[in-house]
């Protein structure tokens, strides 16, 4: 059935979901139009829970860091009583950024312009010429730093929401919490963000990275050189690759793929290149997991890889290392990416080093894989310059499968249905 017949003269939707007929397409306008970018700011980024940072990044009272979240400048901090807070980094007086460091430890934040000073709860505590203001000038707190409307956390992951009326974080995360737990349970002492942020970018629409982050179909063709590396490094790929390949639509736009893979996993799956010492350490970690969580859950954690996209723009990939990643549009054709490595608190130095070495064999702007994703996505974006004549992305793979695998596109369709619901509204 042709486009024109299907929509009988009406403007076709951006997401053309006719799954029952084996059709699922996305208009390339969704990646290019300024008006779509603006709708996304309004309907998605101003309403969804967005990842801000991890508990361990502001571990001690007074710790702070500054971070951009969809263009807003945020101060993420822990006060003297140990409570985590987040404020807009702008002085209530003239608007200057109050805090200019990326991170550090502070007793107060002072705007240098007129020297207004704020405590770690954002409260104005001092300003020169205080006597020239009315006694009740700050009675309603309008001279304090503005806190983010909502800030909630789950297992150390802090999210903010610019919509005061949003549902609570737990309801929003929904089924994704089961998979967050599989990461956070990896250490009895909890997990921490390892120092060092990878701040890079793609010359492509942000939604292409939401798709790419859990795309099993592109693995072999795009990352052939990475698999060459794994083979060349390990001689063989071992026999402990679990035969699982399962995509999950988690609802609310969240999705995850679970699968076995040949690479080593710092949590208890060694590869030949790690030698006997590496295998011994992996066995000890598996024993610890089994004792704490039982054999079934321990095996699932140790051997199964997970790529999860939490709508709209937060990724937790538990693969050859664990990465947390956010990506946000700075325009229809450009995004900024922040990526971190997550590891067990108190990890032995040798194991920590192996984890980071393993991370970088694939992940990040200097890895053996991510730069090729960077190129693939940029090529997609460049290809959309032809959208007047070649206007649709096909996302139908696996619609005819009773048991789809991670090489199908269940996870992308989960994302796009939620995107469409928020941008295009419910359709009959």
């Amino acid at each position: 059935m042709g486009m024109e017949m299907a929509f009988a003269g009406q403007t076709p939707p951006l997401v053309d979901d006719r799954s029952a007929n084996g059709i699922f397409r996305v208009s390339r306008h969704a990646f290019v139009e300024q008006s779509v970018f603006e709708s996304e700011q309004r309907e998605i980024f101003n309403k969804c829970w967005l990842y801000l940072g991890h508990d361990s990044e502001v571990a001690a009272p007074g710790d702070f860091l500054t971070r951009s979240v969809v263009g807003r400048k945020i101060i993420f901090t822990r006060n003297k009583a140990g409570k985590v807070g987040a404020f807009f980094n702008t002085c209530p007086h003239r608007g200057a950024l109050v805090c200019r460091e990326k991170q550090g430890s502070a007793n107060l934040f002072r705007c240098f312009y007129h020297s207004w000073a704020f405590d770690l709860d954002g409260k104005l505590i001092n300003r020169p010429g205080h006597e020239s203001y009315a006694d009740d000038a700050n009675a309603n707190g309008e001279h304090n730093l503005v806190p983010v409307p909502r800030l909630e956390s789950y297992r150390g992951l802090y999210f903010l929401n610019f919509d005061r009326n949003a549902c609570d974080l737990a309801s929003y995360l929904g089924n994704s919490m089961e998979f967050i737990d599989l990461v956070m349970d990896q250490s009895a002492d909890g997990m921490e963000v390892i120092g060092g942020t990878q701040e890079y970018g793609f010359k492509a629409n942000w939604k292409l990275l939401a798709e790419n982050s859990a795309d099993g179909y592109h693995g072999q063709p795009t990352h052939a050189t990475y698999f060459d590396y794994v083979m060349s490094t390990n001689g063989n790929l071992g026999d402990n690759v679990v035969k699982i390949s399962k995509p999950h639509d988690l609802g609310q736009g969240h999705a995850v793929v679970e699968y076995g893979a040949p690479w080593g996993r710092p949590i208890a799956k060694a590869v030949p290149a790690w030698g006997e010492e590496g295998e011994r350490e992996a066995a000890a970690l598996r024993a610890d997991l089994t004792q704490r969580l039982g054999a079934e859950r321990a095996d699932r954690i140790a051997y199964t890889n997970r790529n999860m996209v939490i709508f709209p723009n937060f990724v937790i990939n538990d693969i050859m290392a664990i990465t947390l990643r956010t990506f946000e549009p700075v325009g229809p054709g450009q995004m900024r990416v922040n990526a971190w490595a997550l590891g067990p608190k108190g990890e032995a130095p040798k194991a920590r080093e192996r984890r980071l070495y393993n991370f970088l064999e694939f992940l990040g702007p200097g890895g053996f894989a991510t730069p090729d994703d960077c190129e693939a996505l940029a090529l997609c974006q460049e290809g959309y310059s032809n959208m007047a004549e070649a206007g649709w992305n096909d996302i139908s793979k696996g619609l005819n499968q009773e048991r789809p695998t991670i090489e199908d596109e269940v996870q992308m369709r989960a994302f796009w249905r939620e995107w469409s619901r928020r941008i295009e509204g419910e359709r009959a």
């Binding site: 120092g195 050189t225 980071l356 200097g366 053996f368 960077c374 190129e375 693939a376």
Partner: protein
């Protein structure tokens, strides 16, 4: 006598000799002669690129870097970059490595530390990216020729959102 000259005299290596070596390294990278470039490293050497803006004492064993190559992975990186399936660099980007402000910082007659500033331009499909910062080297001399034992490239930009990736040897 300048501090640089004193060090050079003690080490029996001159800044000119080091500059010749670094200019040759830059030319090999400009020309995509990566196998020849790898031969400038001694076996067991390492190559690191920390996140943009990192201090000189950043440690890849404790902090997430962009690149943390031991000699094996560096050899594999070279193999990868010369394949057609290294998509990001196929066809090869055009690059120009500018090296300046070369200083010998110290050492003895077996190993010495060197620093230089760099500006590397990468151009592909109508876009040009600039990487700038400084390289730190530990170099050795074996059979009369200089070899690299350790190289770390520090980027001065706040992040690499504009450049996007570190897909070349900067």
């Amino acid at each position: 006598m300048s501090a640089q000259l004193k060090i050079a005299e003690r080490l029996s290596v001159s800044r000119t000799e080091i500059e010749d070596f670094l200019f040759e390294e830059a030319a090999l990278l400009d020309d995509w002669k990566l196998t020849e470039w790898l031969a400038l490293f001694e076996p067991g050497a390492s190559y690191h690129v920390p996140p943009a803006g990192s201090p000189d004492d950043a440690d890849p064993a404790a902090t997430l870097f962009y690149v943390m190559d031991d000699y094996h992975r560096l050899s594999e990186r070279v193999k990868r970059l010369l394949k057609r399936t290294a998509h990001v660099e196929y066809p090869h980007s055009r690059c120009r490595h500018m090296i300046s402000n070369v200083r010998i910082l110290g050492g003895d007659d077996r190993a010495f530390t060197v620093t230089s500033n760099f500006a590397t331009y990468r151009s592909k499909r109508g876009r040009t990216e600039l990487y700038f910062g400084h390289h730190n080297y530990v170099m050795t001399r074996a059979d009369g020729s200089i070899r690299i034992r350790q190289k770390t490239s520090f980027l001065d930009s706040d992040d690499i959102a504009e450049q996007g990736k570190v897909s070349i040897i900067i």
